[in-house]
């Protein structure tokens, strides 16, 4: 029973700090810098939470260094604390005899959830590592679909074809999804083609456009304004509101981009209707 902690605490083999995000969520911070090891911990915890839930748990959001768990406090209190909210909410009740229980204690929803999360973290050391899914994304590079490809090539003294080959040669890791539905934060862009954002953002970038911004690369799942360097476009939808899950990519996936011709792009787009 370690409760909420502003500093790192050992939970079995794992170090973490448990930070409240208001009165209805807890962030489990698993590291300080973006790296493979912390990412693996994040995936481990997320996969564990996919299978194990506590009463009142709503959902979880994995990020680069953390997993945030959302819950409904009333149900968590009843389910984890075996208490009704009525006796807790009454300051004179036995539930909190001191009348000044601190929020890191286990007499309130946040404390109970933190205790439960701590127990789950301690179980993670034996969790089996899963093999990542590999998702291939076909991309038609350059031309009107990737108008900034010439600029990116020129900035690095490369030919357009070389930029395409470098971009499509790497294995990218999906660290997290966020910003827009199905938008994947990818790690692994070769430094040789890292390119700063454009001076002036575009007002609208079509869904499916593949871009570079600094040492990031990614695909815009829905039309949005943006300042990335646009190098191509995929005919594959990344956001699938009628599917479960509603996205092509998931955190932990390995992504490979495969260059396709304009003819193949048009054929695939037409096939999608």
């Amino acid at each position: 029973m370690k409760g909420l902690a502003e500093n790192y605490v050992n939970y079995g083999a794992i170090e973490a700090k448990l930070l409240p995000l208001g009165d209805s969520a807890v962030t489990v911070q698993l590291g300080e810098t973006i790296c493979r090891q912390t990412h693996d911990r994040v995936r481990q915890l997320a996969e564990h939470l996919e299978r194990h839930r506590f009463p009142g748990m709503i959902e979880y959001v994995p990020a680069f260094l953390s997993v945030t768990v959302y819950f409904e406090p009333f149900k968590a209190l009843g389910g984890l604390g075996n208490r009704t909210a009525a006796d807790w909410a009454d300051p004179d009740s036995n539930a909190d005899p001191t009348g000044n229980a601190d929020p890191t204690g286990s007499t309130n929803p946040l404390g109970l959830v933190a205790d439960w999360l701590g127990e789950q973290l301690a179980k993670l050391e034996n969790a089996a590592q899963t093999t990542p899914r590999v998702t291939e994304i076909p991309v038609c590079y350059g031309g009107e679909l990737g108008p900034d490809l010439p600029e990116v090539a020129e900035a690095h003294g490369l030919s357009e074809q070389e930029v395409i080959e470098i971009h499509a040669s790497a294995d990218y890791l999906v660290y997290m999804l966020g910003f827009a539905p199905g938008f994947a934060y990818l790690g692994g862009l070769p430094q040789r083609i890292a390119t700063p954002r454009r001076q002036t953002p575009r007002l609208s970038i079509p869904a499916g456009t593949v871009g570079i911004a600094g040492d990031q690369t990614g695909v815009y799942p829905i039309a949005t304004p943006g300042g990335w360097q646009l190098i191509g476009k995929t005919p594959e939808p990344l956001f699938l509101p009628d599917a479960t899950p509603p996205t092509l990519l998931r955190a932990g996936d390995i992504v490979r981009f495969r260059p396709i011709s304009r003819e193949e792009f048009d054929r695939r787009e037409a096939a999608r209707g």
Binding site: G22, D23, T27, F179
Partner: protein, 342 residues
């Protein structure tokens, strides 16, 4: 059963309690800005509190009921009128066949919630009927309601039918009936044009200069006109809020009521259509019980944040939820006894 939008109003959307479970895929939660008001409106017409209703913003719509309907309007007071008679908020109301619901000027708050027995039967997308305007999905064709939209209403529950029959005795000559029962006043949020909103320390509060942190919990902040369902952009009188030292944070989850501070030092309170993750330092988190106060603050209004402990925020939440449960069991007892006096 359906209702017809004669005039759409400024921004009228189908909302429920939000699209939970897909944030890990970058899909926003959305849902009612003032979830308390929508929940109560649903309970008052015998719906599950998660049913879909209409969120009505500022300038209200005109709605025609071709068939009789059991309705409730809760939340901000946008001067609702049923068949040209003032419609009281936080009550159960019978709208007879051919009724017209209109709205007038905003007297208090800026969002009203209309629940109809049976709920708005919009298609479910990813566990929710909420409108996600930016992605164009959910709600009614993924958009705000337009003139001529005919919204289907689901089948009324036994609870709805019991409430309707309790109201039969109250019907006036034109068939309109208002319940004698209403919501206990001490359960209602104290909506105000310039509210004081309780908030707890944010995850990065300690990164701010002490003077900035103090100022955040003392100054009044104006709600800028470029605020929307995604975020309330706030501006204070003095200089912007500053960090002790400049630093880049790694993006992590944010939630309804997270107050983050971008480099210009002017805070943004994230609302129903917030992004799932953010990278700006989080200075505070609005207590869940006071989210309705923030959601009902109109553009141009001011907000003050009063710091409370996490312990207090949790206690307030549980007290409010307990009150909602008491209301629900009161309504259930009434339905069972067939006695409309509470």
């Amino acid at each position: 059963m359906s209702m017809i939008m004669v005039k759409p109003g400024l921004l009228t959307t189908v909302q429920d309690l939000g699209r939970h479970g897909s944030q890990q895929f970058g899909v926003i939660v959305g849902g009612a800005m003032d979830a308390f008001a929508l929940r109560i409106a649903n309970l008052l017409v015998g719906n599950d509190e998660r049913a879909a209703g209409l969120e009505i913003t500022m300038l209200g719509p005109e709605i025609y009921f071709a068939e009789p309907a059991l309705i409730s309007v809760c939340g901000g007071d946008l001067s609702p009128q049923l068949n040209d008679r003032a419609l009281p908020l936080w009550k159960t109301v019978v709208a007879p066949e051919g009724s017209v619901l209109r709205f007038g000027r905003a007297r208090r708050g800026c969002r009203a919630y209309l629940a109809v027995a049976g709920g708005v039967d919009a298609p479910i997308k990813m566990n929710s009927r909420s409108t996600y305007l930016r992605a164009g999905i959910g709600g009614w064709e993924g958009r705000a309601l337009q003139k001529g939209d005919r919204l289907p209403i689901g089948a009324a529950s036994p609870a709805s039918r019991a409430l309707a029959s309790l109201l039969a005795d109250e019907a006036q000559a034109d068939g309109v009936a208002f319940s004698r029962w209403s919501v206990a006043p001490d359960l209602l949020p104290s909506y105000a044009a310039n509210p004081e909103v309780r908030a707890v320390a944010g995850q990065e509060l300690a990164l701010f200069q002490e003077e900035s942190a103090e100022r955040f919990f003392a100054d009044a902040f104006k709600v800028r006109t470029d605020s929307d369902r995604m975020g309330y952009r706030l501006s204070g009188d003095g200089d912007g809020l500053r960090l002790k030292e400049k630093r880049e944070l790694v993006s992590s989850a944010v939630t309804f009521g997270t107050v983050q501070v971008p480099p210009d030092g002017q805070p943004i309170a994230l609302m129903a259509d917030r992004q799932t993750t953010g990278g700006y330092p989080k200075i505070a988190q609005v207590a869940s019980v006071d989210l309705p106060l923030l959601a009902q603050t109109n553009l141009g209004g001011t907000v003050r944040f009063r710091r409370v402990s996490l312990q207090e925020a949790q206690r307030l939440y549980l007290v409010r939820e307990n009150g909602i449960r008491t209301l629900r069991s009161g309504l259930e007892r009434m339905q069972a006894s067939g006695n409309g006096r509470v």
